[in-house]
């Protein structure tokens, strides 16, 4: 007599597990191995040949290969055809490894290869297509989504899948339609958009005294339409007179009269009252954390003092300088030249 207790016995559960372990891989598609795409020419819009290579992963008969050209490599995402690409005139000019294929159908961004279904080997297979027109958008990569089927018309369940990546690249310069630019100016005073400065590139801070903190300020404005943003570093040795160099704190530190101290920051301060907060509506251009704390000063040559991680309209930064001196500071005229270097980001 049938009993559910028999079905839930240890033997029953073990049988289910075995079935699961051995049955699942047969049904699941695996990725084609060592996939690659070689574009004979990667100039945008030119007619060229593509060679697609891969190893078949699953030892099953294959009757067709589906090649779908999309911007996105993920097989289950909607396919947007690469701008300018055209494979409707493609000719299968060479094949190696698993052979016997011919083109069953082709559209602007789709090729189906067909053959009499046959078992695949583990050799590297290559398929060269002539007369393909390259995409025209050099700013974006594209992909060929590959699928293998046991049917001859790329229908039914897939056996293996995988994508190969390609990108067109102009031999001269790979840039978007709008040329990126980096705008930068430095002076004692600058206008927000760098169209004017007071053309004064130095400042006299006065006479050093242990009882007084000397202050000064300069300004710089920066902006870029480059997608990577910008970074500004401050370079140059701290204030010095001959071999005597005024120390500069390596971490943000409060101003202390009577000590040898040279530091800068990029925000408004109360002690001493100097500087201004960054001006400009663009929020992603900021002072670096170490140089953005009010009443705390630091100077390490080469440090990034301001940056933006992406496109930034013009932003103006006011740099505050403080100098303190101790009684035993060697007499002399202490000077420095700070070079602010603005660069794009990669």
């Amino acid at each position: 007599m049938f009993s559910w207790r028999h079905m839930l016995s240890e033997e029953g559960i073990a049988l289910l597990l075995v079935l699961f372990v051995f049955a699942a891989p047969v049904a699941a598609a695996t990725r084609l191995q060592e996939r690659s795409l070689f574009m004979q020419s990667d100039e945008p819009g030119v007619t060229t040949s593509y060679t697609v290579s891969y190893r078949y992963a699953t030892p099953q008969p294959v009757g067709s290969v589906d090649m779908l050209f999309c911007n996105d490599p993920i097989p289950y995402h909607p396919c947007v055809a690469p701008t300018g690409l055209n494979v409707s005139g493609a000719v299968l000019s060479h094949q190696g490894g698993e052979t016997g294929f011919s083109i069953l159908s082709k559209t602007t961004n789709h090729i189906v290869l067909t053959r009499i279904p046959g078992m695949v080997s583990n050799d590297l297979s290559t398929y060269t297509f002539d007369n393909i027109i390259n995409p025209t958008d050099a700013s974006q990569a594209f992909s060929i989504r590959l699928r293998t089927h046991d049917t001859t018309d790329a229908t039914g369940s897939q056996i293996d899948f995988g994508s190969v990546r390609g990108q067109v690249a102009s031999g001269i310069a790979l840039e978007t339609q709008v040329p990126p630019m980096l705008v930068f100016c430095v002076a004692q005073q600058v206008e927000d958009d760098c169209v004017g400065t007071n053309d004064n590139f130095y400042t006299d801070m006065g006479e050093l005294s242990p009882k007084e903190t000397l202050t000064a300020q300069s300004q710089m404005a920066v902006g870029t339409n480059a997608s990577g943003g910008f970074a500004i570093t401050a370079n140059g040795i701290p204030m010095s007179a001959g071999n005597s160099v005024i120390d500069s704190p390596a971490i943000p530190t409060e101003s202390k009269k009577g000590t040898n101290q040279f530091g800068i920051n990029l925000v408004a301060n109360n002690t001493p009252a100097v500087g201004e907060d960054p001006q400009g509506i663009w929020a992603n251009a900021v002072a670096s954390p170490d140089y953005g704390i009010p009443d705390h000063y630091k100077y390490t040559p080469g440090d990034v003092v301001a940056y933006s991680p992406n496109v930034s309209l013009m932003k103006k930064f006011t740099v505050s300088y403080i100098v303190n001196s101790s009684d035993n500071l060697r007499a002399g005229v202490y000077t420095t030249t700070i070079t602010y270097i603005a660069s794009g980001r990669f």
Binding site: G162, V178, C185, G196, S227, Y321, R345
Partner: protein
């Protein structure tokens, strides 16, 4: 006689010249040493080239002097650079004695040494990159530094420099190896000094998912692909482009690539050019557990396309939700306690209106 007359004429010319110079020095405005060069410029921040061995590329650099009063006098030089951290800020090797890097483009690049740009105008200067025949495939990069003169006088002199990053890809068989090191929700660095970090649990609405890749190959890499975010109920949302800025992992760098869960783009006007900007906005996630799946691809032309797949789990538990859960648990605990007491000791359970009436 003729000689004496000639001498007199020469003396009068010299005297007149001095007179003109002295007069000019009084009439013309005083020009300080600091006003030698403008420090307001516009340059191209980045150049990319693909050059086959044995071939060269001729290109131009456009430099604009934004100052309409004084000329921009620049000194140009090529320096090597590497990465500063896991971001995209270049670390310039400005020391003239700095050793040449293995990826240096300097030996192949030709740029002018000095450029002067008239006030308020632009200048186009020629540059070229020549790759010797038989040179191996890979990525090569250096930076062009445009240095303006520095201010002289006073205690603090100022100087401005701009930098163009130049990248060259030499096609062919290359060594490509990106190793995924971290993947998950990401909190970017804050102005308060807090460093950017990956998190497993967050009480703040997560806005970014990031992945960190170590580049062990000999080429720069810009991965492409997607991230799928799935909540506890199986609802999915996709980050379509995991590298919208086409950011690069330099040779040897561990690069963090952050992506907004929900991206807000807008067109803005920058110097009379329309530019698209992108920023994160709140993805309006519900509290709970999420699973993120990364599917990233990379591979140069003619080389294997490699795929990185990784799944990460994280919890979004805002404080209000934690408090709500605690209150619900406390209330439930209280009622359970009352019921247990009633069952165990026969004491009354939770007071209800009907029990009070009795």
């Amino acid at each position: 006689m003729r000689e004496i007359r000639g001498m007199k004429r020469f003396k009068s010319i010299v005297a007149a010249g001095f007179a003109v110079l002295i007069a000019a020095s009084y009439v013309m405005p005083a020009v300080t040493a600091s006003a030698v060069s403008s420090a307001a410029l516009s340059i191209v921040p980045k150049k990319n080239y693909v050059i086959e061995p044995g071939k060269s590329v001729k290109d131009t650099l456009i430099i604009r002097n934004l100052d309409d009063k004084i000329p921009l006098i620049l000194t140009l030089r090529a320096v090597d650079f590497t990465f500063t951290d896991d971001g995209g800020t270049p670390k310039l090797m400005l020391d003239p004695n700095a050793p040449q890097t293995t990826w240096s483009l300097r030996p192949f690049m030709t740029i002018p040494k000095n450029v002067t740009v008239a006030p308020g105008s632009s200048k186009t200067v020629d540059m070229s990159v020549s790759i010797p025949a038989g040179h191996g495939a890979g990525s090569y990069y250096s930076a062009i530094v445009y240095s303006s003169g520095s201010g002289e006088g006073g205690n603090v002199g100022l100087s401005a420099s701009g930098v163009t990053l130049a990248f060259v890809t030499i096609p062919g068989k290359v060594n490509e190896d990106l190793q995924l090191q971290k993947f998950g929700i990401y909190k970017p660095a804050k102005l308060s000094g807090e460093q950017g970090n990956f998190m497993f649990i967050t009480t703040e609405m997560p806005q970014m998912i990031a992945y960190n890749l170590k580049n062990n190959g000999n080429v720069t890499e810009a991965p492409v692909g997607n991230i799928t975010l799935t909540n506890m109920f199986g609802q999915k949302q996709t980050i379509d482009d995991i590298n919208p800025n086409r950011s690069l992992a330099l040779i040897g760098q561990s690069r963090t690539f952050p992506s907004c869960i929900k991206l807000k783009t807008q067109d803005v006007n920058f110097n009379n050019r329309t530019t698209k900007t992108a920023d994160c906005e709140s993805p309006s996630l519900w509290p709970g557990m999420y699973t993120a799946t990364l599917d990233a691809f990379y591979g140069q032309n003619g080389n294997n396309t490699k795929e990185i797949i990784r799944t990460a789990t994280f919890w979004y538990l805002p404080w209000w939700f934690i408090l709500l859960v605690l209150v619900v648990l406390a209330v439930a605990g209280y009622y359970v306690w009352r019921i247990v007491r009633r069952i165990k000791y026969g004491r009354p359970g939770p007071r209800t209106k009907s029990s009070r009436q009795k």
